[in-house]
């Protein structure tokens, strides 16, 4: 192995580990929230409204006297579940359309790819906003809408993989031995094209977390009293002059979380893709 190869693989591993630790901490915070939260996240306390961070309330309290640290710990679970479920939906849709497009080619491919182009031309945030406001902003609707507007990248990746795999000998052999299209796609081709899908899914979670927090910040995402980082920030905006802690801490949590997923995704990309070992470190 060349020296630069070793160096860039080591660097990729450092990124992956750093990202992995951040994501792990997030999981822990979400799982342990009921145990380690100092207060009930929805408990209103009229005697300590907008209290600055202190030993009693480590990250202060909000405009209803609720403990910010407790709300943020519970918010981690919201952010995590929105991220995973919406990316799960996007990945499933993307794999299905990309596989069909790449496997069958011709008119099917042309139609699916035109649909992808159309979806990519819509200002997605407009679309999400419209749908969420017309439906009600339950967390399931948010997950579904984010998922259904972010599958296009995955479908393109899967299509390209399938185009290059479909004339490989093992695929032709499976076809010759009479395997059904579905079996060839699921059992033979999909497992061989998963690496880019996993990477794009990890990066997709980061994007989904950002969209959810933006929606909640605008007041059409996760609805109070259920805590989410975005809706704490929304209270932060209303109290910008007097309560900096409401704006600083939840935003920092979003930033670190998104960076964690991005580091993990980029690190995995570098590890999986041997073409990158020499060239772009």
């Amino acid at each position: 192995m060349k020296k630069s190869t070793v160096r860039s693989r080591f660097r990729a591993n450092k990124m992956t580990v750093a990202g992995g630790i951040i994501v792990l901490c997030l999981f822990l915070a979400a799982a342990l929230a009921p145990v380690i939260s100092p207060y009930d996240p929805e408990a209103v306390n009229r005697h300590s409204v907008l209290a600055a961070p202190s030993l009693e309330h480590l990250l202060g309290t909000d405009d209803l006297g609720r403990d910010v640290l407790s709300r943020m710990l519970y918010g981690a679970g919201i952010s995590l579940s929105v991220g995973f479920v919406s990316v799960g939906i996007a990945t499933a849709v993307g794999i299905a359309l990309g596989a069909v497009s790449g496997y069958y080619g011709k008119a099917v491919d042309a139609a699916v790819m035109r649909f992808v182009d159309i979806m990519l031309s819509i200002p997605t945030f407009f679309l999400i906003l419209a749908v969420i406001a017309f439906l009600d902003s339950s967390i399931w609707n948010i997950m579904a809408v984010i998922g259904l507007t972010s599958w296009m990248g995955v479908s393109r990746l899967v299509r390209v993989e399938f185009l290059s795999l479909k004339n490989r000998e093992y695929v032709l052999a499976a076809k010759a031995s009479g395997a059904s299209d579905l079996r060839i796609i699921l059992a033979h081709m999909l497992p061989n094209s998963l690496a880019p899908v996993i990477i794009s899914a990890v990066l997709g979670i980061a994007a989904a977390v950002l969209v959810e927090s933006a929606l909640s910040f605008l007041g059409i995402g996760v609805q109070p009293p259920t805590p989410s980082w975005g809706n704490i920030l929304s209270a932060g905006k209303d109290n910008l002059e007097i309560a900096w802690w409401l704006s600083v801490f939840p935003g920092l949590a979003i930033l670190v979380t998104v960076m964690g997923y991005n580091l993990l995704g980029e690190g995995l990309r570098d590890i999986f893709d041997p073409r990158l070992w020499d060239e772009r470190s």
Partner: protein
């Protein structure tokens, strides 16, 4: 060149129709009727009056007929009348909000290009140096930064603590009495933070792509040839390299336009800027269907226009695409 343009125009038309169909379908299959909003304000309304309202808006006809009727009027820029109490034409409402959103987006695009391209080139050329490492960390932070949070922090710092910049709206109190130069300075002062926020993420993204693209180009044979000819390093990078490295960037810029337009909802809401994004937020919240459809359509047109510019830019940089 002619067939190229015809093909592009046809593709754009198909995309445009596709976008309007998707938007139309989503809005019309959503539960709740637009007349609910009107009737909620007036609880005494009779079922007959409600039916009359529905008929007036064509809501009793099948969705396909509604779409056809709507499309026929859209071609003549007639998006119908807003459901809100002022009953003004949708196009008039959009027209007065559109310019400010366009100015901010174009200004951010120019700033993104002006900052991101030099950063990308210089970190590609100085790969593995301290400078490259610092910009890489900066890019990771920029990628992950929620725009609205950055906006809050800047408002808190420059507005609340330092009292240096205004934090909301476009004009100060007493704007009407200002002299012309005072007016210009006042508006610019209001625009500094919004434009900074809306270009921040783009700078991170584009500079990263520029770096990757430049690294790809540096390895090519024609770069070695240029070096062998004895050209100066500056000439090699900026004349031979840049032109080729810019190609993928043009495509990515075209793709990033829907994101920029969508993002305007967030920063216009945070900074209380009376642009199209804020109008969209209000129209969605009040279920003003004609206005929502109108803005979605205009957003699609802007995106397609952006893509067209990207394609033309591509053709300008790379003669091969013109065939």
């Amino acid at each position: 060149m002619f067939t190229y343009l015809t093909k592009k125009t046809l593709e754009m038309l198909i995309t445009f129709v596709g976008i309007t169909i998707i938007s139309f379908a989503i809005i019309h299959f959503a539960p709740g009727k637009p007349t609910d909003v009107l009737t909620d304000l007036n609880p005494k309304i009779t079922p007959e009056a409600r039916a009359k309202l529905e008929k007036y808006y064509g809501l009793d006809k099948p969705v396909t007929t509604q779409y056809a009727l709507w499309m026929k009027r859209v071609v003549m820029l007639d998006f119908g009348e807003s459901f809100s109490s002022d009953h003004r034409a949708v196009w008039t409402k959009i027209k007065e909000r559109l310019p400010i959103t366009l100015y901010i987006n174009i200004a951010s695009l120019l700033i993104i290009l002006a900052i991101a391209i030099p950063i990308g080139i210089s970190s590609a050329v100085r790969r593995h140096t301290l400078y490259d490492k610092i910009t890489t960390v900066g890019v990771f932070v920029g990628f992950a930064m929620p725009g609205f949070w950055l906006a809050l922090l800047l408002m808190m710092f420059f507005g609340v603590h330092l009292h240096m910049l205004p934090v909301a709206g476009l004009k100060s109190a007493g704007f009407a009495e200002f002299s012309f130069s005072q007016k210009v300075i006042d508006i610019l002062r209001h625009l500094v933070l919004p434009i900074f926020v809306s270009s921040f993420g783009g700078i991170a993204g584009i500079s990263r792509y520029m770096r990757g693209s430049m690294l790809e180009v540096i390895r090519q044979d024609y770069m070695t040839t240029a070096k062998a000819k004895g050209l100066t390093p500056g000439k090699i990078i900026y004349v031979h390299g840049l032109r080729n490295a810019l190609l993928p960037i043009v495509t990515i810029l075209g793709l990033s336009i829907p994101g920029l337009i969508g993002g305007s909802v967030i920063f216009e809401q945070v900074f209380s800027i009376p642009g199209m994004g804020q109008l969209f937020y209000m129209s969605v919240m009040s279920r003003d269907y004609p206005l929502v459809m109108g803005i979605l359509t205009i957003g699609a047109v802007l995106t397609l226009a952006g893509n067209l510019f990207a394609d033309l830019g591509y053709a300008a940089v790379d003669p091969r695409t013109r065939r």
